[in-house]
């Protein structure tokens, strides 16, 4: 149901009128947002603007107080991370959520192990993990059987992203994937983010870093104090305008 822009392909994810309060604090006010397949949508905003809360509502971790959520035009209700995963939504969290004592394959299949009967099917899992990493053109990981504790920050982020992709996911949400990384590693991860969109996935990138946002995103959605103040094409705005949106909620030439 492409209700606004009949010429464009319908957005994969469509949010309308999302409200969310924690006690007396209203964190999200009437937020609308659309995310398209094959594009990277950057979600920007200052600390406390509600980015993480919005993502957690989509991921089924927090229930939303009110609002509608559509996937490919049909309304859905998500009550748990499991349900979100079944809809093809995967979130890569800031704190990664990997188990240090397990290896790459074990982490990628955690909670969804392949088994034949009672026994884990290790060869199949290893092969699939390898295939997924290859499809993302990951060259930084030499063996998929090394424990995650021996990986660098960038490699861990790569594993976390690959884990999200493994499940035939359609929407991957990345919460500050480059926050703790050095220059070279950041470039690697951004390359990977771009590759996800180019493979046809819908990607949401939460970031504070304007360089990252302009490097990979197709669209920018800006949150300001819990309100969506702008959703624009990246090519239509300048660096300074986006910073203005983040800090004051408005920008010359842009409608709030």
């Amino acid at each position: 149901m492409s209700w606004k822009d009949p010429l464009m392909q319908a957005p994969f994810l469509e949010l309308r009128g999302i409200n969310k309060s924690f006690g007396a604090v209203q964190v999200l006010r009437d937020v609308a947002m659309s995310v398209r397949a094959g594009e990277v949508t950057a979600l920007v905003g200052d600390n406390g603007a509600g980015k993480s809360t919005l993502v957690k509502c989509v991921g089924g971790i927090h229930p939303m107080d009110s609002g509608e959520m559509f996937i490919n035009g049909s309304e859905v209700h998500v009550h748990s991370p499991r349900e979100a995963a079944q809809l093809g939504i995967e979130i890569v969290y800031q704190d990664l959520a990997l188990c240090d004592n397990l290896d790459i394959v074990q982490n990628m299949f955690l909670g969804r192990e392949r088994t034949s009967g009672w026994v884990l099917n290790e060869p199949e899992m290893e092969q699939l993990a390898r295939k997924t990493l290859d499809s993302l053109a990951v060259r930084t990981v030499s063996t998929v059987r090394q424990p995650v504790s021996s990986l660098s920050g960038g490699q861990r982020q790569t594993v976390a992203i690959a884990k999200a992709v493994l499940w035939n996911s359609k929407l991957v949400i990345l919460d500050e994937p480059t926050a703790a990384l050095g220059v070279a590693q950041t470039a690697q991860v951004l390359e990977l983010v771009r590759a996800l969109a180019d493979n046809g996935l819908a990607v949401v990138l939460i970031s504070h870093n304007m360089n990252d946002v302009f490097a990979v995103s197709d669209r920018i959605a800006a949150l300001y104090l819990g309100q969506m103040v702008a959703q624009v094409k990246t090519t239509d705005v300048t660096h300074a305008q986006v910073v203005e949106l983040i800090t004051s909620g408005k920008s010359e030439g842009q409608q709030a």
Binding site: P81, R82, A85, Y93, D95, L96, A97, L98, C99, D100, N101, L102, Q106, L110, G111, R112, E113, T115, W118, V119, L120, E122, P123, E124, E126, Q127, R130, T143, R145, S149, S150, L151, S152
Partner: protein, 394 residues
Amino acid sequence: MNEWLASIRKGNLGALPAVAGLIVLCVVFSVMRPVFFTAGNFANLFTQAAQVSLIAMGLVFVLLLGEIDLSAGFTSGVCAAVLAVTMDQQGFPWYVSMGLAIVTGSVIGLVLGFLVAKAGIPSFVVTLAAFLAFQGVVLLVVKAGNIVPIRDPIIIAVATKNLTPLLGWVFFGIAVVGYAAVQVRSTISRRKQGVTADSWNTVLLRVGAVAVLLGIMVAVLNQERSRNALIVSLKGVPIVVPVIAFFLVLGTFLLGRTAYGRHLYAVGGNSEASRRAGINVDWIRMSAFVICSTMAAVGGIVAASRNASVDPNTGGSNVLLYAVGAAVIGGTSLFGGKGRVLDAVLGGLVVAVIDNGMGLMGYTAGVKYVVTGTVLLLAASVDALSRKRASVST
């Protein structure tokens, strides 16, 4: 081989410290007291290590989560008391009493696990309370000061009788062929899928090493150990050895080859990540305590069998500490996320060797405790240092 060396350098020591310690201790004791190095004493070691090893096997599951069960020793005492009292005073047949003892263990584990996972009380406190309470329960069940005898020949046989030499070799055959079959099957399927697989030489070496080790063990244990073979013959593998082997294989399979085992490691490594991966963390916690207390029950039955009686001190004094020590000496981490069931057996043997060897050398209990404590501390430092090493080498 090179990979193995590299992983050791990264602080992943595995069974190396325990095996090395075992060899050093055996050599030292054999030189000091030649009687240590006899078939008779070799058989003693297994029966001495049995209770501690069995309890430690269960503890590994709890330790993997980064939790502790201080009550496992007295849980085994309570279960042994249930076994003895129902047989001696109610006249139940051995299999009913044994079943009751094991169920008692499982129920205790369920209660402990519930208090830790659902009520959120630290396991240290829950099991410390249980440690005190169960000490009282054992006293109440066996009626303070009494010793409940065990007369059933089958229960007594578990820890005191031996397999016939032929049956020993049959078990040996089953073990080696089974191990080889598992290794070859997994290598073939890995090759077929085109993923990393060990070379056939490695597989051959591994199966060969197991065969030789088990072969020597069975051959030695099948020797005549009686001082006067004309009056009573004493030879064959002690029955506890296949019992331990059974639980070792079962536990290793559960931890290494099933999704349940994988989830146990995951919860121990990062419980928040496990929760987000959709693992039922509370259920995993509770199940680990159930397994631990059930294995404690098995250990209690073996202890009752060995002493042919149960008294208020069964499972008391140093049993729990030896069991925790055995798991840690074997290489299981107290920080959670790292450990194997084999650790419990290797560690249990180290503890038994120290106990046995120092006893032969005429040292008093005081010296034995000090030495065992030192070895435990050493093992814990190896664990802590190898963790540090592993986190530095990123």
